[in-house]
């Protein structure tokens, strides 16, 4: 079990990364995380949405209701400039951590 802070920190990065190139809604984000991690990482309503709201409140992502023809309206989240900065920082930090872990314990993350 990952340490809660680490988990939350990494989860934040995952979400920020997923909305980096285009806006996505909550279900899509959950689905993508599950798919891309081959089911290792799973987010449910109870864990995902509080995280989204917190990120939005911190100004790292911005949510917007979007209505598309023939569909019900959904809330799309996209990365803000502040979010981009944090994401970049987090990527660097995680890279360093993995490099360090690799040097010490011989794990190859990628």
């Amino acid at each position: 079990m990952l340490d809660r802070e680490v988990k939350r920190g990494s989860a934040e990065m995952l979400i920020l990364a997923l909305v980096e190139d285009r806006p996505r809604h909550g279900y899509e984000i959950a689905k993508l995380i599950e798919q891309r991690s081959d089911g290792v990482l799973q987010f449910h309503v109870a864990s995902l949405y509080p995280l989204l709201y917190r990120l939005e409140k911190r100004g790292l992502i911005g949510g917007r209701w979007v209505e598309k023809a023939g569909q019900r309206r959904r809330r799309f989240y996209k990365l803000t400039a502040a979010g981009q900065k944090i994401l970049n920082e987090q990527r660097r930090t995680w890279k360093k951590i993995f490099a360090a872990l690799d040097r010490v314990a011989g794990i190859n993350p990628v």
Partner: protein, 902 residues
Amino acid sequence: MPEWKEELRKRLASLKLPPTREAEILEELAQHLEDRYEELVGSGVPEEEAARAALSELSDSDLLVGELRRIERQCPEVLIPGRRASGNMLANLRQDICYGIRMLLKKPGFTLIAFFTLALSIGANTAIFSVVNSVLLRQLPFKNPDQVVWVWSSRTDRENAPFTLPDFLDYRDQNQTLEHIAAFSNIGLSLSGNERTERIQGLRASANLFQLLGVDASAGRTLVAEDDAPARRHVVVLSYECWQRRFGGDPRMVGRALTLNGESYAVVGVLPMRYALPVRDAELVIPLAPDVDPLRNVRTSVNFLRAVARLKPGVTRQQAEADLTAIVKRERQEYGDVYLKKTGVRLKPVYEEMVGGVRTALWVLLGAVGLVLLIGCSNLAALSLARASTRHREMAIRKALGATSARLVAQMLTESLMLALLGGGAGLLLATWGVRFLLALSPTRLPREQEIGIDLRVFTFAATASVLAAVICGILPALQAARAEMKGELSSGGRGAGEGSRRNRSRNLLVVAEVALSFLLLIGAGLLIQSFRRVQAIEPGFDPTNTLAIQLSLPKARYQDRAAVALFCDKLLSRLQALPGVEAVGAVSLLPMSSGIRSVDFSFAGQSLAPGDAHTSQYRIATPDYFRAMKIPQLQGRPFDGHDNAGSVSVVLINETMARRFWPNGDAMGAHINIDDNNTGPRPVEIVGVVGDVKHLGLESAPTFDIYTPIAQTHEDQVGLTTNSHYWVARLTTNSQGFEADFRRELQEVDSDAATSNIRTLDDYISDSVAPRRFNLRVLTIFAIAALLLAATGVYGIVSYTVTQRIPEIGIRLALGAGRTRVFRLILGQGLKVVFAGVVLGLVGALALTRLIRSLLFGVTPSDPLTFAIVSSLLILVALIAGSVPARRAAKVDPLVALRNE
């Protein structure tokens, strides 16, 4: 498909989220569950199972609720007009304040009027309250002031009398109930050392006085009990103010020597700042030193001492009173005749003694200024009501959008509260300045005046007054706003008939209240003015025009007997009489209305004294020309002359009242009486003349018996009092300019050590004797005028408003042929109805309340019909004028224009 939203709502209910936010979250989460469900169904999962799987995402709903609570709690409230106030008071308040500021800025005229009204009335209230607070409410600056009592001798002829030195020593040595007792008297001192000798007022007090009161020196030390010892008595303690004024606050003063009455005294300390000594104007304190006083054992001597005492713990005032009265009873048994008039001892709480005299006046002033504030507030309330009616549409719209009444009331009150707090703040500043103004206006000094200032209690008072003012000003418009109804209001262009009349009723009631309150104040001021006029009309018994009086004291060492004093008077008299412009000049031991009392007991030759028989009269020693200088008429017999000297028979003049009372047949001439003006017992004197009555104790005092003796026959026991202080009066042919310098020059020639003080006209003395009355009168009149003006603007406002409202109606009336006079009367009559109601209400209130100021009145009853009539007419007249301005405007309305407006 399950009702996702319902499921979610159940789980999130405990969060009590704001409805809009809750709706958003529900929608988003429901969407998520829906997506999941559809995906599962799409991949062939049975519907029931798919629903279960989707809902399982909420299995950890505790986590969801917990997390959301943490996040959403910090969310700023989305403001929705008129939503329930619960839970977001602060946000509401902020909104109300912002909104209030906008509204106030939008109507700068109203805001300024309201601000100044509130600032002035709260300022005046705070100023008066700070005086009341310092003088009446704040604890006396003593240790355990409840145990400190004032000691008075009670006599058959006087309730609160001073006593002799032997009396005091008996009380001190024989009492069982007092921890300390300290006696004191005022003493005139000649302070020499500078270029000229100055006479200053001092306090001669038992050296334990400060220990008794629990007062420490601000520099050096106070007196200690040992200072009463003969060898140590040449010490002096300065008041802080004396130290500052005369010696520039020089820190090296302690240890220096001062020459007082020709003797050297060492300064041992300085009293705390603003410390009020029991004798007004006393600048320094020297020990009583009873053991070296020549009157140490003279039971028949003059009663010159007053005293304070501290009760032993647990002893009540009544017990101590009984204890001391028992001592007086023993004295009576032992010394007989001497104690005929002394019946016992009366102890008064020190608070009562110090401030009892001004209490009623101060409370009345506070009440009066409170009324002004009330009137000001109702005026503002009426103004706000007028404004509220223009805002009625706004309120109706907000209510239609869902604002609750409470919310609207809160918002209106916030507006008036902001105004009131601004006004209150400015008022507090005004008050600090106003108190100085008030004290400057007051020519006599208030007790404890030195202590007056702004403290926490005054601050709280100002704040409370502001909040109350806000509620009074704001509550009616606020309630009106709360009643605002959508119906009719939005469609009728803002003139709802039912609401309008209710608003008018509120405004009318406010103006009725204003008029009634102003009536109260005007009656109060009117009664004081009547009293003042009656006091002013009293003949003082002498003619004060073109006179100048100078107080003088002589160095004791060189004026030991009456021969020396008489010689001095003769020399100075002949020099002064030779001065140009001097019509008459004379000397007297104590000037009328100079706030001193000197009295003697007298009886008739051949009668033995019993307590009821002995009478008391005012007692003055005068030169023959004193009566001419004062223009006190000689009614019978002869004046004093050069033959009345030490060698001739002792003579006196008496006044008319005394002559009428005891010799109603006009046979006073040649009668003999015994006067008790010395330490050895009554001495016989012959009445040689009757002079006019003089108001020695002030214009308002009851007639007294007066006895005058010639200065050349002054009893040796009275010489000390005369050298200590006496007065010279000069009647001048022109004005008094230049005489003062002449007097000083001549005095310098006769005796350069004689000290002068108090150079003033007799008019000044008369004016001073009515000064407290004039002060009350002035302040109350200012308040009454303010009230009258406020009431007038109230009446103007209400009539003016009626006119605006009824212009179309007036137009129709005019168009149908009504005369302009008729319209004028119609409009004015409506205003006057309100005024009459106010006057009637005020009349009832005044009849009930003026009793409270009975003790401040003179020669008028609290329900003086003349005053009531004048005030009623004045108020109605002013209201008539105030109302006729807008009424005239109504009469001038052009029917065409009026109807077009409709």
